[in-house]
C-alpha cells in the first residue's frame, strides 16, 4: 500500500511527532548528561576529570563492582527459584498452579521498594523474625547491604525466569521428546539433549531481563542497601547530596550505567534472535500426575518459592492495619494509618492517580500511532525512528531523572517542579513498551483486512478507524492498564523530580520508610498493591490475556 506515497498523509505527521518526542525528551536531556560528565566543575571546560576520578578512586569502582555482584547474584538466585517452579508447574500436576502464577506475577509487578521495606520489618534491627530467631538463640546476619538487596531483588524478579521458561516448556511439541525416547534415549538424556536446548533461548532471555532490572533498580538498594552503594544509588547521592553535590560525577556514573544496560540489551536481542523453537503446536506436553512423597515434595518446593516471594507483600498488608502512634507500632488493629493518609496527604494519593491516568492516555495514543507506523509504514524515516524509540529501555529511571532536571531547569523548556515533568517521565519511560506492544499486535492482524476495507471504498484513515483499531482495542487497553500500574509504582526517576506539590505515593512510601513511619508506608504500599492486583485481575478476566502479557508489556 504505497499508492498515496506522494501526498503527505496523517502517518507522516505521526512519524514527525515521534522524532520530535525522541529529540526533545530523550536526546536533548541525555546529551546534557553526556556534556556534564565531560565538563570541569569549576571552569566549565572540556575535561576528562570525572572519568579519571571514576576509574581512579576505589569508592566509585567499588560501587561498580557492587552493582555487577548484585545483578549477577540476583540473576543466579532468580534462576534457582524460577527454574524448578517453571519445570514443576508445567510438567507435573500441581494443585492451585494458577494461583501460584498469579501470586508470583503480583510479586513481580509490585513496587520494588515494598519488598525491601518489608524485609526490613521482618529482619531489620528490630524485625519480628530476627527477634523470633534470636529468642531461640539464632543470630541472623544483618539484612542491610548486599544480602538484603539480593534477597529482595531475587524474590521480586524470579518470575521473569519462571514465566518465560514455563511459556516455552508448554509449547514444546511433545512429539520431539517422544521421538527422542523412541530413538532409545532415556528420560534424563532426553531432558538434557532435547528439552533443555529447546528452552535455552527463553531461559537466557529471562536471565538477561533479571540482570538488567536488578542493575537499574533504585528503590531496593536505596531502602535496604544502607552504606552499600550501587551505581543507581551512587548517581542519586552524587546528584542530590547537599555536601559535595556533583552533577558531573553523577552524569559519568549515569553514562556507565547506561553502557552496562546497553550491553545487556544487545546480548538480549542477540539471545532472542537466535532461533525460537516454540511454534505450531501439535501436541502439548503431557502433565504428569505425581504420587506420594514425590507429589508432596513438588508441591512443597512450588509453594515454598511462591510463598516466600508473597510473604513480604502479606506482611505489608498486615502492618497497614496495625495500630500506630507516630513511628511506633502498638498492639491492636485499626484503620488509623489509612485515615492518616487520607487526611494528611490526600493530594499525594490524588497526584499518583491523576499523573498516571494522564500519562497512560498519552502512552496509549502515541504508542498506538507510532506502533502502526513501525509495523505498517516502513519507510526510511521510520526505520531510523524505530531504534531511537527503544532508547528508554537502556535508560535507568535515575539517569532519566537526572537528565530531565538538567535539561528542563532552564530555557527554552522550563518544567522542573511541575506536574507536567512527572507525567512526561512516566510517558517516556513507558512509551517503548507501548510502541512495541502495538506493533506486535498489528503484526498479528492480516494486512489483507485493511486492504479489504480500502478495496471496498473506505479511505485509509477510515479503514484504520473501522477495521484496524477495533481489532487492536483489547491489546491496547490491556497494555494501557499495565502502563498504568508501572506508572503508579514509578520511583527512581520521579524521586529526583518531585517537589512538595507533586509528591506521589511511591515517593511518600520511600520518605516514610526513611523517617521510620512504617504505618503510613504500609498503608500506602497496600493501596499500590491493591491497584496492581485489581489491574492484573481486569487484564486477565476481561482481555483473556495470560501471564505473558505481564512480561511482554
Amino acid at each position: 500500500m504505497n499508492l498515496r506515497g506522494k501526498r503527505a498523509d496523517v502517518w507522516h505527521l505521526v512519524t514527525f511527532i515521534g522524532f520530535a518526542i525522541v529529540i526533545v525528551f530523550l536526546i536533548y536531556p541525555l546529551f546534557d548528561v553526556f556534556q556534564y560528565s565531560f565538563k570541569n566543575k569549576e571552569t566549565g571546560e572540556l575535561s576528562l576529570a570525572n572519568w579519571k576520578e571514576f576509574f581512579g578512586r576505589a569508592y566509585y569502582m567499588r560501587a561498580f563492582g557492587h552493582s555487577m555482584f548484585i545483578a549477577l547474584a540476583t540473576t543466579f538466585f532468580s534462576m534457582v527459584l524460577g527454574i524448578p517452579l517453571a519445570f514443576f508447574t508445567t510438567r507435573y500436576k500441581i494443585k492451585g498452579s494458577n494461583l501460584l502464577t498469579t501470586l508470583s506475577v503480583l510479586a513481580l509487578l509490585s513496587p520494588t521498594f515494598i519488598g525491601a521495606y518489608s524485609w526490613i520489618t521482618m529482619l531489620g534491627r528490630n524485625g519480628f523474625l530476627r527477634n523470633l530467631f534470636s529468642s531461640i538463640g539464632i543470630t541472623l546476619p544483618p539484612i542491610y547491604g548486599a544480602l538484603g538487596i539480593i534477597l529482595a531483588d531475587s524474590l521480586q524478579y524470579y518470575p521473569f525466569i519462571s514465566l518465560m521458561l514455563a511459556g516455552s516448556l508448554m509449547t514444546i511439541d511433545r512429539s520431539l521428546e517422544e521421538a527422542s525416547e523412541n530413538l532409545g534415549a532415556r528420560a534424563t538424556k532426553t531432558f538434557f539433549s532435547v528439552t533443555m536446548p529447546l528452552v535455552l533461548p527463553s531461559l537466557t532471555g529471562g536471565a538477561l531481563i533479571v540482570f538488567m532490572m536488578s542493575l537499574s533498580n533504585f528503590g531496593t538498594p536505596m531502602i535496604i542497601g544502607g552504606n552499600y552503594l550501587v551505581l543507581p544509588t551512587l548517581a542519586y547521592n552524587m546528584f542530590t547530596s547537599e555536601v559535595g553535590e556533583s552533577p558531573g560525577m553523577a552524569s559519568t556514573v549515569s553514562i556507565i550505567l547506561m553502557l552496562c544496560a546497553a550491553v545487556v540489551i544487545v546480548l538480549q536481542t542477540w539471545a532472542s534472535s537466535r532461533r525460537k523453537y516454540a511454534s505450531m503446536l501439535v501436541n502439548r506436553p503431557v502433565v504428569k500426575k505425581l504420587k506420594g512423597a514425590k507429589a508432596f515434595l513438588a508441591h512443597l518446593v512450588c509453594y515454598f518459592i511462591v510463598g516466600l516471594s508473597t510473604l513480604p507483600l502479606g506482611v505489608i498488608v498486615f502492618y497497614s492495619f496495625r495500630n500506630t502512634s507516630g513511628p511506633v507500632f502498638k498492639p491492636g488493629f485499626s484503620l488509623g494509618s489509612y485515615r492518616q493518609i487520607f487526611f494528611d496527604v490526600p493530594k499525594t494519593v490524588a497526584n499518583s492517580f491523576i499523573y498516571s491516568f494522564v500519562a497512560v492516555l498519552l502512552i496509549a495514543l502515541v504508542g498506538t500511532l507510532l506502533g502502526f507506523v513501525i509495523a505498517r509504514r516502513r519507510n526510511l524515516a521510520v526505520k531510523l525512528l524505530d531504534p531511537l524509540l527503544m532508547i528508554p529501555y537502556i535508560v535507568p529511571g535515575t539517569v532519566l531523572g537526572i537528565g530531565f532536571i538538567v535539561a528542563f531547569n532552564r530555557k527554552p523548556i522550563f518544567l522542573t517542579g511541575t506536574a507536567i515533568i512527572m507525567i512526561l517521565t512516566y510517558f517516556i519511560r513507558r512509551l517503548p513498551y507501548s510502541v512495541r506492544s502495538a506493533a506486535s499486535i498489528l503484526k498479528q492482524i492480516d494486512p489483507a483486512l485493511e486492504e479489504a476495507g480500502i478495496n471496498l471504498g473506505s479511505p485509509p484513515g477510515r479503514t484504520f478507524r473501522t477495521v484496524t483499531l477495533p481489532l487492536m482495542q483489547s491489546g491496547i487497553i490491556s497494555g494501557a492498564i499495565m502502563s498504568w500500574v508501572t506508572s503508579m509504582n514509578e520511583l527512581s526517576a520521579s524521586v529526583l523530580l518531585y517537589v512538595g506539590r507533586t509528591m506521589t505515593m511511591p515517593i511518600k512510601v520511600y520518605l516514610s520508610v526513611a523517617d521510620g513511619y512504617f504505618g503510613t508506608a504500609s498503608a500506602m504500599s497496600t493501596i499500590l498493591l491493591a491497584v496492581t492486583g485489581i489491574a492484573m485481575f481486569v487484564v486477565n478476566k476481561y482481555f483473556n490475556r495470560g501471564s505473558e502479557t505481564f512480561i511482554a508489556s
Partner: protein
C-alpha cells in the same frame, strides 16, 4: 466493449522485475484468468489493478477511465482475498454492508443489497453470525458477497480457493462461475491451479517471469501452446530433447531422441536442429490405429489407475514416457515389466526450439 485495458505496464520491486511490458484487453462480462507458478507476477498484476501497487510504467484503464492516479479506495473493484480477509469483529451482515455504508447508501438500499448478495452465495440466515462461527468455505462466500454487494466495475479474485479442501474447491469454483455469469460482471481471477483455470475461464493469460506468455481460451492454451513453458505448465506432457533430421516427405521430418526416431511435422522447423518434441499422454493411440509411423514399444515401469483413465509410465531408449489409455477394460492393464506398444500421431507432436522454447509450426497455424 473493453472493461479493462492494460498497456505497457511494468513494475519493479528493487532489483526484481515483477511485471514486464504487460498488455491486455479484457472484455466486459468476461471471466479472465491469470495463470502461472508462484512468484510469476500474476498477483502483482491483480494488486496493481486494485490499486495496492502503483505501476512504474504503462497505463491501466477501467471502463474507459484512466485510473493510474486513482487511489485504491476510489477504484470500485471488488476483491476476494486468498485468506478471506473477512473482518473478524463484524457479523456477516456488517461485513457485507461495510462497503455500502462507506458509500452512504440509504438504509433500505443497504439491506436490500446485503440480502441479495447473501442470497447469491447461499448464506441466507447467516446474517447475525460472526466469522469465527463460519467454516472456511462460508467465510469465502462472505468475502464474495461483500465484494459483489458494492456492484464493482470488476471482481478481482486472488487465489480465493487455495485455502479450501479439494471437494469444496470444486463446488465453490462452479458457484463463482455461475454467479459471475448471472450478474454479467467482469472478473479477473488469479490462480496457480491449471485445472481450475481451464474449467472456470473464458480466457486465460499464462504468466511467467513477469511476462505474459500466451492469452487465449482454455482450449487454445491446452491444444495450441505457443511455447514450451505453456505446454508443460498447462496439462501433462512428455517432453524429449531431439535432434531434427532429414525431410521424410508429406510435410514430415525426422526427429531423433537417442535411439528413438520420430516423424514430426516439418512446417516452421526450417533451420533448427536442436529441438524439444512434446506430446500429451492422452494423444497416443493403439498401434493398430496408427498409419505406420511413430510406432514404439516400452517397458512398463509403473501404472496408476484413476478410474476413467489408466496412466502408464514406460521406459524406452533411456527416456521415460507417460501414456494414458481411456476407459480401461479388465486385462488392459499389463503387469509391470511387460512390453507395451503404442503410437504417437505426427499431428499430435509439438516441436519447440530448444534454445528459445518457442513453438515451431506453420505460419497459418494460429
Amino acid at each position: 466493449m473493453t472493461s479493462i485495458k492494460i498497456t505497457g505496464v511494468e513494475k519493479r520491486f528493487g532489483e526484481l522485475l515483477a511485471l514486464s511490458d504487460i498488455n491486455l484487453a479484457i472484455e466486459k462480462g468476461e471471466f479472465f484468468t491469470l495463470l502461472g507458478p508462484s512468484g510469476c507476477g500474476k498477483t502483482t498484476l491483480l494488486r496493481t489493478i486494485a490499486g495496492f501497487y502503483r505501476q512504474d510504467k504503462g497505463d491501466i484503464w477501467l471502463g474507459g477511465e484512466l485510473i493510474n492516479d486513482v487511489p485504491a479506495y476510489l477504484r470500485n473493484t471488488g476483491m476476494v482475498f486468498q485468506n478471506y480477509a473477512v473482518f473478524p469483529h463484524m457479523t456477516v451482515y456488517e461485513n457485507v454492508a461495510y462497503g455500502l455504508k462507506v458509500r452512504k447508501l440509504p438504509a433500505q438500499e443497504i439491506e436490500k443489497r446485503v440480502k441479495g448478495a447473501l442470497r447469491n452465495v447461499h448464506l441466507e440466515g447467516y446474517e447475525a453470525r460472526t466469522p469465527d462461527k463460519l467454516s472456511g468455505g462460508q467465510q469465502q462466500r462472505v468475502g464474495l458477497a461483500r465484494a459483489m454487494a458494492i456492484e464493482p466495475r470488476v471482481l478481482l479474485f486472488d487465489e480465493p480457493l487455495s485455502n479450501l479442501d479439494a471437494k469444496l474447491r470444486v463446488e465453490m469454483r462452479d458457484e463463482i462461475r455461475a454467479v459471475q455469469k448471472a450478474l454479467g460482471i467482469t472478473a479477473v481471477y488469479v490462480t496457480h491451479d491449471q485445472e481450475e483455470a481451464l474449467v472456470i475461464s473464458d480466457r486465460i493469460a499464462v504468466v511467467n517471469f513477469g511476462k505474459i506468455q500466451q492469452v487465449g481460451p482454455p482450449w487454445e492454451i491446452y491444444k495450441n501452446p505457443v511455447n514450451l513453458f505453456v505446454a508443460t505448465f498447462v496439462g501433462k506432457i512428455n517432453a524429449l530433447d531431439v535432434v531434427l533430421g532429414e525431410d521424410l516427405g508429406s510435410g514430415l521430418r525426422r526427429a531423433q531422441a537417442g535411439s528413438l526416431s520420430f516423424a514430426v511435422p516439418s512446417a516452421g522447423t526450417e533451420g533448427c536442429s536442436d529441438a524439444v518434441l512434446a506430446f500429451r499422454p492422452e494423444e497416443v493411440v493403439e498401434t493398430a490405429d496408427a498409419a505406420g509411423v511413430n510406432r514404439l514399444s516400452g517397458t512398463l515401469v509403473s501404472t496408476a489407475f484413476l478410474g476413467t483413465v489408466v496412466s502408464m509410465e514406460l521406459e524406452l531408449g533411456g527416456s521415460t514416457i507417460v501414456i494414458e489409455r481411456h476407459r480401461p477394460k479388465k486385462g488392459d492393464i499389463p503387469a509391470t515389466g511387460n512390453r507395451v506398444e503404442f503410437a504417437v500421431p505426427p499431428e499430435s507432436c509439438f516441436i519447440f526450439d530448444k534454445r528459445t522454447g518457442a513453438r515451431l509450426r506453420a505460419e497459418e497455424g494460429r
